[in-house]
């Protein structure tokens, strides 16, 4: 079976004040503002080829509005439309959105709004098209500057059902599961065409909850620099720099000024998965080490603190 989703394309996240949000997301995190339109702002990382990867929307409650996945080919959108029909998932066809073409929008069993799209403007990254240097010279030296968006971890009241939906209908494949005593997955790390440890992960929790969304930060040096920048700017660090047993990624959990959790996720210790390889299994006894490898235990806030 071919991969039909290329990656997590964008997330829309609610913030309580758009001015303060933009100050944080551009000056501390180091995203570039594409455009601000009323109560929404579109942003992208410096190495993103697509029009944007984060939408910030002013609201009275933080959390996730939607997560959108981009397909590999244009026809894949039609393929998923057929699949949604086949599984009787109610969906809407959104003909267009900011700098984007058609998308399928639907609610998942976990209560999240997902979109699947292909067409979006592809303005390129912030490097020249010809003979580029490896990074833009005008990166803000005291910002985190992740090159790309990586994944999102969301919460589901019935995680097993949500995991099956993502696997059967959306054709995600699992790299890792936490299984309960019945052998059912209660948490999953799911990948698509990039074969990274995950584009999407699911853990038990409230309906439509966002545990975090993550940006790629690769080297140990960059991870520690990111942590320094967080402290310099009085950003609340939730965990890390540390390592996950699950995915083997290294990272930092931190909060935006409204309590949305963000992660820098380091690929330098993480694997690329071979299709067909059996998913890795964690159990109730070992999952402490799975989530926080060095600490070897789950802290309560991992399961209770999210937007």
């Amino acid at each position: 079976m071919p991969f039909r989703i290329s990656r997590l394309g964008y997330v829309e996240v609610r913030v309580l004040d758009l001015d303060d949000a933009l100050d944080f997301y551009t000056n501390v995190l180091g995203l570039r503002l594409v455009e601000r339109l009323g109560k929404k702002a579109y942003l992208k990382t410096w190495d993103d080829q697509l029009a944007y990867c984060v939408i910030l929307t002013e609201s009275d409650t933080p959390g996730m509005v939607r997560a959108a996945f981009r397909t590999v080919d244009p026809e894949d959108v039609d393929y998923y439309e057929k699949k949604l029909k086949q599984y009787e998932v109610p969906y809407e066809v959104i003909p267009e959105d900011y700098k984007r073409g058609k998308a399928l929008r639907f609610k998942t069993p976990s209560g999240h709004t997902f979109e699947i799209y292909y067409e979006i403007e592809v303005p390129g990254n912030f490097l020249p098209k010809e003979s580029p240097d490896p990074w833009p010279r005008d990166l803000k030296s005291d910002a985190i500057n992740p090159p790309k968006i990586d994944h999102t971890l969301i919460t589901a009241p019935d995680p097993t059902k949500m995991i099956k939906f993502c696997e059967e209908v959306l054709e995600f494949r699992a790299t890792e599961y936490v299984v309960n005593s019945d052998g059912q997955p209660v948490a999953a790390w799911l990948y698509q065409a990039r074969q990274q440890p995950h584009d999407l992960a699911i853990i038990p929790g409230r309906e439509a909850g966002m545990h975090h969304f993550a940006f790629h930060i690769s080297s140990a040096q960059d991870i520690f620099k990111a942590a320094d920048i967080m402290v310099m700017n009085d950003v609340k660090i939730d965990w890390g720099p540390g390592r996950h047993g699950i995915t083997r990624g290294s990272g930092i959990y931190f909060f935006d000024p409204f309590g949305n959790r963000i992660e820098t996720f380091g690929g330098y210790t993480a694997y690329l998965y071979d299709p067909g390889a059996k998913p890795i299994i964690w159990t109730e006894e070992t999952m402490g080490k799975g989530v926080f490898y060095y600490e070897r235990r789950l802290v309560e806030s991992f399961l209770t603190v999210y937007t």
Partner: protein, 118 residues
């Protein structure tokens, strides 16, 4: 010369401890500095984990409306990570339990009462 700063007294029940909160300081910040472990998560008004009962006037600050509803504000709840006292307060945890208190004094005095012989 020291500036005179307004401060409010916060009385924590059932611990029966009073601690000082400076003008503009959040309840959580003042509590943690006093070694009182009030529950907290994001510390940015988003997750609701720091919700406590409060008697007295506070500025609720910028908080998630899903985690602190208008009705909760009226019936004596606040998010301690954002709430700033406007007068002396009485607070308690949601479940009425005692908050954990850390005796910072002991290891601080170990550090700072060490004699320096020059």
């Amino acid at each position: 010369m020291s500036e005179v700063r307004t401060a409010f007294k916060i009385h924590l029940l059932p611990n029966n401890i009073t601690f000082i909160c400076h003008e503009g300081q959040t309840i959580l910040d003042a509590a943690l500095r006093a070694g009182i472990e009030l529950p907290h998560g994001c510390t940015r008004g988003g997750c609701g984990v720091c919700k406590i009962r409060v008697k007295g006037k506070v500025d609720f600050g910028r908080v998630s409306r899903a985690m602190l509803t208008d009705q909760e504000k009226e019936s004596g709840f606040c998010l301690s990570c954002r709430a700033v006292p406007l007068e002396d307060l009485e607070i308690s945890l949601i479940d009425g339990a005692s908050a954990k208190v850390i005796q910072h004094d002991e290891f601080y005095s170990f550090l700072f009462k060490t004699r320096t012989n020059l």
